[in-house]
């Protein structure tokens, strides 16, 4: 086992010991407290994701701990995965402790992203629990002298199904390991008997979050810790020419760290570090290597192509197009967007001679460990990354970069160092969601059916290797120059019947800013284009938008969500635009959109009512209805919270958000220059969950984000007769379009 450089206070307070665990029943969740040995007793536990003991540990007092590399970034995973394990093991959820994203304690079954927390993470833990269930029933069978088939697990004990005394799980196995491989065939409980899965259990972290008791990474500290702040150059590629340390002489106990172009300050007092970073005089070289951010369409069209890829090729759209009764074409454009985490990214690093520990809110502790180990030359087994909650990240925000900042400074000064980015660091330097450009073309026949469809997309190509870390670049450390924004080319084909269909991606070599996965990567823009264009076709054919979609779909689950969302909003069948939209300056309309997420996962339909102010161009979303089918529902309330969040956040992205830059740097570096949705704009949101208990559960962190921008654009068209094809739909843009129309 690796030597772990430091054992944190968190280990002592929060991490499970296999030996001494205390928990309170009723209300408070099991929160294992390690033995007072100074060493968390579960360091050294199995980590192999093929082994049950890696995921689950049973304690002698009847509680248990789940270990997982999937983390809860405010999504509800923490309760949902407990419910899945509790169901298989007949274990009360309050007796289950949960350890997330600690490379020394949790098996690596993938980072948290792509909505995989439940469908992969939760399902794997459920299978481990089902395997454990079989083993526990066998143990109980020996103990009780009855065949395992006559026993069941209920309320933390094994007991005869027919009744009679049982034996507690703690007494059966507590403190010992099962030493069992996860059995892929271990039978799961029958969904018809579910007692815990499907219940809207409250999330254990919410009371602490509402009372200031929840310990965020930003709130955490380790003994001897210094506060660091990094001074970023005024231009992305500028080099540091000189530093005048006398400029901060008046600020107590500050030390300047300079490694190549990496410039930072550290101080025992956080405010001293903040002020020093602000006041330290440094001169940087000129650099103007960025294109201008205006006219993204022209830039993307002109960018160098890495390769072309045909994603869908059915029939022959080019041949079919001329025979169409009507042909349509349109271009859609989506800008760079920021994760815009409400709390800037933070990390604590403690680098010592014998190893290092990094506390991070990264969605992938193991991935971060390998990147940091490779970049900074620390053997992987000597680097421990421990997850703690940060502000919502929605993908890879500044977390990896701030971890590199903290690690580099700690390595230099030989003390534990906490770095929290300032607002301008987060907005300016987080890796961005990609810009996207789509050209669509369709031909319809005399009945208004899609005869031929062609999508051409311009998207940044994935380059193998990890994303360069800002600190390593500045310090002149060689590192891979990967580029990856996630699965951004999905959902660019219409889900509706089309005999001739072609989807082509022009993969661009590079774009001006670093990229990463941002919630529902690529899909929001693709669905925005495809589902807006679908409405353009329906409108050209003079067909109601709902009727047009229903006619092109045959999957009953697709039809169910569409009909449900439409019914909830009170859909009146008629073609768009709305002939009776005007009421003074207020133009009213409604629109809808549908997606089968990644063409293989969730079914989501969304309808919206909007009002557009003709005088100002301001768009108000008044009501949103969403019908959501993600298979088996684990926790309906957490699921709704995710769906509501997807809707509101994506409305914000569609209405307001665009990263701006000049020739030197990102210029949208605060909430004034990068505005997001505010309370007065919050619509009424109604969500219907279409539960399918006998189907596998799908993730829900992303899918309902995908149709939002399209439903909004369709509603705006219905209200105004103006088709918005470029995001964001800011008032000036809408007003300009209305004036031109």
């Amino acid at each position: 086992m690796a030597t772990i450089a430091s054992i944190s206070r968190r280990d002592l307070l929060q991490k499970g010991s296999g030996l001494i665990v205390s928990f309170a029943l009723g209300g408070a969740f099991a929160r294992p407290v390690a033995a007072q040995t100074g060493v968390a007793a579960d360091v050294g536990k199995p980590l192999d994701p093929r082994q049950v003991d890696s995921f689950l540990m049973f304690h002698s007092d009847g509680s248990m701990t789940i270990y997982t590399s999937k983390v809860d970034v405010g999504t509800g995973l923490r309760i949902a995965v407990r419910q899945m394990a509790a169901e298989e093991l007949g274990m009360p959820v309050e007796r289950i402790a949960f350890v997330e994203g600690d490379t020394a304690l949790t098996p690596d079954h993938g980072g948290t992203g792509g909505s995989t927390g439940i469908p992969r993470g939760g399902v794997e833990i459920r299978q481990a629990a089902a395997t454990a269930r079989q083993a526990l029933l066998e143990l109980a069978s020996n103990r009780l002298g009855r065949p395992a088939s006559e026993l069941t697990l209920v309320n933390g004990e094994a007991r005869p199904t027919a009744g009679g005394p049982g034996v507690g799980i703690g007494a059966l196995i507590g403190g010992r390991r099962l030493s069992l491989a996860v059995d892929r065939q271990a039978p799961l409980r029958d969904p018809r008997s579910y007692a815990v899965v499907g219940k809207p259990l409250p999330r254990p972290d919410v009371p602490g979050k509402c009372t200031g008791q929840h310990v965020y990474l930003q709130d955490f500290s380790v003994a001897g810790m210094l506060h660091g702040r990094v001074i970023r150059p005024p231009a992305l590629g500028a080099s540091l020419q000189s530093v005048d340390e006398s400029s901060i002489r008046a600020i107590p106990d500050v030390r300047v760290v300079r490694i190549g172009n990496f410039l930072a300050v550290v101080a025992p007092d956080e405010w001293a570090a903040v002020r020093a970073a602000r006041e330290l005089k440094a001169t940087w070289s000129e650099w103007q290597g960025l294109p201008r951010s205006n006219d993204m369409e022209r830039q993307l069209r002109a960018a160098a192509i890495a390769r072309e890829e045909t994603l869908v090729d059915r029939g022959d759209p080019a041949r079919a197009m001329p025979s169409a009764a009507k042909q349509l074409s349109a271009t859609y454009c989506w800008p760079f967007q920021s994760h815009g985490s409400l709390g800037p990214s933070c990390a604590i690093a403690d680098v010592r001679a014998d190893g290092a520990t990094v506390w991070s809110a990264s969605q992938g502790s193991h991935g971060l460990r390998s990147v940091l180990a490779r970049t900074f030359g620390i053997p992987q087994e000597k680097l421990r990354v421990i997850y703690m909650d940060g502000a919502g990240s929605y993908g890879t925000n500044g977390t990896d970069d701030v971890a590199a900042d903290a690690l580099l400074i700690s390595k230099t000064v030989g003390r534990p160092v906490r770095v929290q980015w300032m607002r301008a660091d987060e907005h300016g330097w987080d890796p961005k969601g990609p810009p996207q450009l789509l050209d669509l073309r369709a031909g319809i026949d005399f009945e208004g059916r899609i005869l031929a469809w062609e999508t051409q997309m311009w998207l940044p190509v994935a380059v193998p290797g990890t994303r360069p870390l800002v600190a390593a670049d500045a310090a002149g450390i060689t590192q891979p120059r990967g580029q990856n924004a996630g699965q951004i080319s999905q959902n660019a084909d219409p889900p509706y019947a089309a005999a001739n269909l072609r989807v082509v991606t022009h993969w661009l070599k590079e774009v001006p800013l670093r990229l990463s996965n941002l919630r529902a990567p690529g899909k929001i823009a693709n669905v925005f284009a495809v589902e807006s264009f679908t409405d353009e076709i329906a409108s050209a054919a003079g067909v109601d938008a709902l009727a047009f979609r229903v006619r092109g779909l045959s999957d009953p689950r697709a039809l169910d969500v569409l009909k449900r969302a439409a019914e909830m909003i009170g859909w009146q069948a008629r073609p768009s635009p709305n002939p009776q939209s005007v009421e003074g300056n207020r133009l009213a309309g409604r629109g809808l959109a549908y997606v089968r997420y990644k063409q293989a996962e969730n079914y989501v339909a969304m309808a919206m009512e909007v009002a557009v102010d003709r005088a100002t161009g301001e768009v108000r979303v008044e009501r949103v209805t969403c019908a959501h089918d993600c298979g088996l529902v684990i926790n309906p309330d957490s699921l709704r919270n995710q769906i509501e969040g997807n809707i509101l956040q994506t409305l914000s992205r569609a209405l307001h958000e665009e990263v701006k830059f000049d020739r030197s740097q990102v210029t949208s570096v605060d909430w004034a220059s990068y505005p997001i949705l505010r309370f007065p704009e919050a619509p009424k949101v109604e969500v219907a969950l279409l539960d399918h208990p006998s189907l596998p559960p799908l993730g829900a962190g992303e899918a309902s984000a995908a149709p939002v921008a399209a439903a909004l654009a369709n509603a705006i068209f219905d209200a105004t007769g103006v088709r918005l094809r470029t995001v964001p739909f800011i008032a000036e843009r809408v007003k300009a379009m209305l004036t031109r129309a």
Binding site: G74, C210, Q218, E270, A391, W671, F679, P680, A682
Partner: protein, 153 residues
Amino acid sequence: MANYSFQLNGRAVTVDSWDPAQPLLYVLRNTLGLHGPKFGCGLAQCGACTVLLDGKAVRSCVTPVRQVARHAVTTLEGLGTPEKPDPIQAAFIAEQAAQCGYCTNGMVMATKSLLNQTPHPTLDQVKQGLAGNLCRCGTHTRILSAVMRVAKA
């Protein structure tokens, strides 16, 4: 170092700071160990750092510590605990009105301030009252339900 005395969550405290311009936020979080108020922007733009100063919401990230001397400061911790939450906190918990929860401090404290002045606001008044508080997770609808739960009580 100068000393600053004020009421904090009903108790008298005295802190020293090398800089009279040090924002209250850093004093609360680092000197006094109260982590309810959060650093979100340091620019008075998001509300994550909100505390009450004599019962009114202020942004502690831009409130110099010298300015609170001899006044009363209330933080999220001063309202209630998970076991004994204040009615606003209880409503947020009941509505599960948090995702990441990083904005929650500001939402609860801004609500407290609003209800101190307008005990029974309408939904529109609540929306206006919280207009300066940002939530990135999109928890707005739940936060509004939580506040309306208290407003109607």
